[in-house]
């Protein structure tokens, strides 16, 4: 046996990981490093190529009203959407975890919004919210309420977007939590019933602690997703009216793709990455679980 083949036999497990590692480097690590690299450069229409400008992009960002407005919109959107999705998803999962007839039918219809293309959802809701021929205003008119331009009023535009997001993604929360509920062991419940625990106590002291990891995971997934939400916002309002729904992701898109300030866009993207990583870290800390843990 040659030296190399001996080496490769002994380290076979590393070699078999190589394809995955290389793919990951190209797909995730490289773009992230390149974004970081760009964020310290000016690359715009005038420069034509990236020119190093140190921290200028980050300093500009602090002075940029659009950035702070975007941050506020992003947090409002993420917090409200994920919060309501979690509460609704959890309640629906608990309800459907009983012995109910036709449960398969319920599940099917519940999951439907999640599997529709976001663009189609955006267009559908754009029509639904329309003041002149929208379904929502039609029902409001039956109640004697004058039509409202949901997407064109700064006061309602953000909530309309959040509502659409909740409609689309509550099923995801439901599915995750429902799956968690299905695999919970029976013994603790039997013991609790014997001890005479109320159903609220069962929920508070048994179900939630047992589901904790699943809940945190579901919230993390949704938070990341909502934080970077783009298609629905873009189709429904494009960030308007004015800047009322211009989240960071929309602002980054405008900056990078429409206005071609790629360096500045990369800097915003980097900050977004830092924020979302911190949020995920914080969430796992609060829940007392570690994503890095290896069993």
């Amino acid at each position: 046996m040659g030296k190399f083949s001996k080496f490769s036999t002994r380290n076979f497990h590393y070699f078999s990981l190589l394809p995955v590692v290389i793919t990951l480097i190209f797909l995730t690590l490289f773009p992230i490093i390149f974004t970081l690299f760009l964020s310290f450069h000016e690359w715009s229409v005038e420069t034509g190529r990236p020119i190093f400008n140190g921290l200028a992009n980050y300093i500009n960002m602090i002075k940029d009203n659009n950035f702070w407005n975007g941050l506020r919109c992003t947090f409002t959107y993420t917090f409200l959407a994920v919060g309501f999705e979690f509460i609704l998803g959890f309640v629906i999962a608990l309800l459907l975890n009983q012995k109910i007839k036709f449960i398969g039918v319920f599940r099917f219809f519940l999951i439907l919004p999640m599997v529709i293309t976001p663009v189609v959802i955006g267009l559908t809701w754009r029509i639904m919210y329309s003041p002149s021929f929208g379904l929502i205003n039609y029902f409001l008119s039956l109640l004697g309420i004058a039509p409202k331009a949901f997407l064109s009023q700064p006061q309602t535009a953000m909530y309309s977007l959040i509502f659409t997001d909740i409609w689309q993604w509550t099923p995801f929360m439901f599915l995750m939590i429902y799956a968690g509920l299905q695999v919970l062991p029976n013994e603790p419940y039997e013991a609790a019933i014997v001890d005479g625990a109320s159903s609220f106590q069962v929920l508070r002291y048994i179900t939630i602690p047992l589901l904790k990891n699943i809940i945190v995971l579901a919230i993390i997934f949704r938070t990341i997703d909502a934080f970077f939400s783009f298609d629905i916002i873009f189709i429904l309002t494009k960030g308007g009216p004015g800047t009322a729904t211009q989240t960071l992701n929309i602002y980054t898109f405008y900056t990078g793709f429409n206005w071609l300030n790629l360096g500045y866009a990369a800097a915003i993207a980097t900050i977004m990455l830092v924020i979302i990583v911190s949020i995920v870290f914080l969430l796992t800390r609060i829940a007392g679980i570690s994503l890095m843990e290896v069993d």
Binding site: G48, K148, F150, P154, P241, G242, Y254, W259, L260
Partner: protein
């Protein structure tokens, strides 16, 4: 059975012969050009263009071009946003996946900043082996369209359409109300007020959604008619003057007229909402793209066909500003097939090709086609459309919105400001002061 098969075979042969004859007929006008159309035989070009009536008609002419030149054309029709993303990535990375792209002409200065992402066409136009000057007749192309694709003295594309805006008004409603066609901003306001009768019909509809090519395309006409300017003296003195008293007044006028007389939710309206409101008859008038003509006069698509009158946009103290827009076809500077790509552009913008398309699209880049009796006849069925457009074209100029590399960012930012005034988030004064500061910073 055999007999039937034989007859079918003969029939098939006849059909294919007729087809080839008719194709040969169609090819004849192109063969008059004194160039070798087949010099790039066997090569392939990739074309990415926007979903637009004229582009769809070009697509129908692709087989003829392939027959004429032996060049294979992969023709991709994409929605505008998607097209821009795909082509921009291709241009910026200089991969050269697309040889020809279509773009809003307002982006050409941005693309032409050195090192240019798109190729100047002057060398192709002046090369006698590639272009027959007499047949192509460069001087026949409309001057404002040639200005539109001209960046610092070089030609960066072929402009396709004569699009400007018109005042579209419902003749029947105007007659019933006994008012005349508005000519000034004041008349326009009064007409909107007189015709506003919701919920059956609103006084007018105008674009509200942000974007240099959405609300700003229409708003600019009002802004400038009020006497306002984008800059002190474009392109020599680039001091922005957005928050001048006239600028604030123009923006206030635009927002007020929408808030008072347009359907609810207009701050979110794009051209497509305006178009469908025209087709459904929910608004009495608008100022919007002249190329709506074929769509609102088509009885299959529109409940209001035959009821429309057309006029130039209203003017004010600052004059009459006819909006201007066109799509340009440009060659990617990273393309490896620039020769065949130019042949395609030449074919598309040639007299016979434009002639054929214009009867369906009512638009062209050539005077000779525009003034043809056949085209006038087609358009004459629709009242004053041809005359209004013809008159409007005299006012059109390429720098309706200032063409310079940072326009897109500037225009979009003004669009956000205007949208926030329409939506009632800010007053015109606040919004214009803020955007003035932003643009000053942008141009530092």
């Amino acid at each position: 059975m055999k007999k039937i098969l034989l007859w079918l075979l003969v029939l098939a042969m006849c059909i294919s012969m007729i087809a080839s004859f008719s194709l040969a007929d169609e090819i004849a006008p192109y063969l008059e050009a004194n160039i070798d159309w087949r010099q790039f035989e066997g090569e392939t070009i990739n074309v990415a263009v926007v979903h637009y009536l004229d582009m769809e008609e070009i697509w129908k002419q692709v087989p003829l071009f392939e027959e004429l030149t032996g060049i294979t054309v992969n023709y991709e029709l994409l929605p505008e946003e998607e097209l821009h993303q795909k082509t921009f990535i291709d241009l910026a990375s200089r991969v050269g996946r697309y040889d020809i792209i279509s773009a809003d002409f307002m982006f050409l200065p941005q693309f032409a900043v050195e090192p240019a992402m798109i190729e100047p066409l002057d060398d192709f136009i002046n090369d006698p082996s590639l272009t027959d000057p007499e047949w192509f007749d460069y001087d026949d192309l409309m001057p404002h369209l040639m200005d539109a694709v001209n960046v610092d003295g070089k030609i960066y594309g072929i402009a396709l359409n004569t699009d400007t805006s018109l005042l579209f008004y419902r003749k029947d409603l105007f007659e019933a109300a006994g008012i005349s066609v508005p000519d000034t901003l004041e008349d326009f306001w009064n007409a909107a007020e007189a015709l506003n009768n919701p919920p059956e019909v609103y006084g007018l509809g105008l674009r509200g959604l942000r974007g240099q090519g959405e609300n700003i395309y229409v708003w600019t006409g009002f802004f400038r008619a009020m006497g306002a300017k984008f800059f002190e003296d474009f392109p020599n003195d680039m001091t922005p003057t957005l928050n001048s008293p006239e600028g604030i007044k123009g923006t206030q006028y635009y927002a007020d007229i929408i808030q008072n007389f347009a359907p609810l939710g207009s701050s979110n309206w794009t051209w497509s909402e305006v178009l469908s409101a025209l087709q459904q008859g929910t608004i009495a008038m608008t100022v919007d793209a002249s190329d709506f003509g074929p769509s609102i006069e088509d009885p299959e698509k529109s409940t209001t066909s035959g009821k429309w009158g057309y006029a130039m946009v209203p003017g004010g103290d600052g004059g009459r500003w006819q909006p201007f827009f066109c799509f340009a076809l440009s060659i990617n500077s990273a393309s490896k097939n620039k020769g065949p790509a130019w042949l395609f552009l030449q074919f598309v913008s040639s007299k016979p090709a434009s002639n054929e398309r214009s009867l369906k699209t009512w638009t062209t880049m050539r005077w000779s086609v525009w003034e043809r009796p056949e085209l006038q006849e087609v358009m004459a069925q629709y009242g004053g459309y041809y005359n209004a457009l013809n008159e409007a074209l005299q006012y059109v100029e390429a720098d309706y919105r200032p063409r310079f590399p940072k326009w897109r960012e500037m225009g979009d930012k003004i669009g956000i400001a205007v949208e926030s005034v329409i939506g009632g988030q800010k007053t015109a004064e606040e919004a214009m002061n803020e955007v003035q500061a932003e643009i000053e910073k942008l141009l530092e």
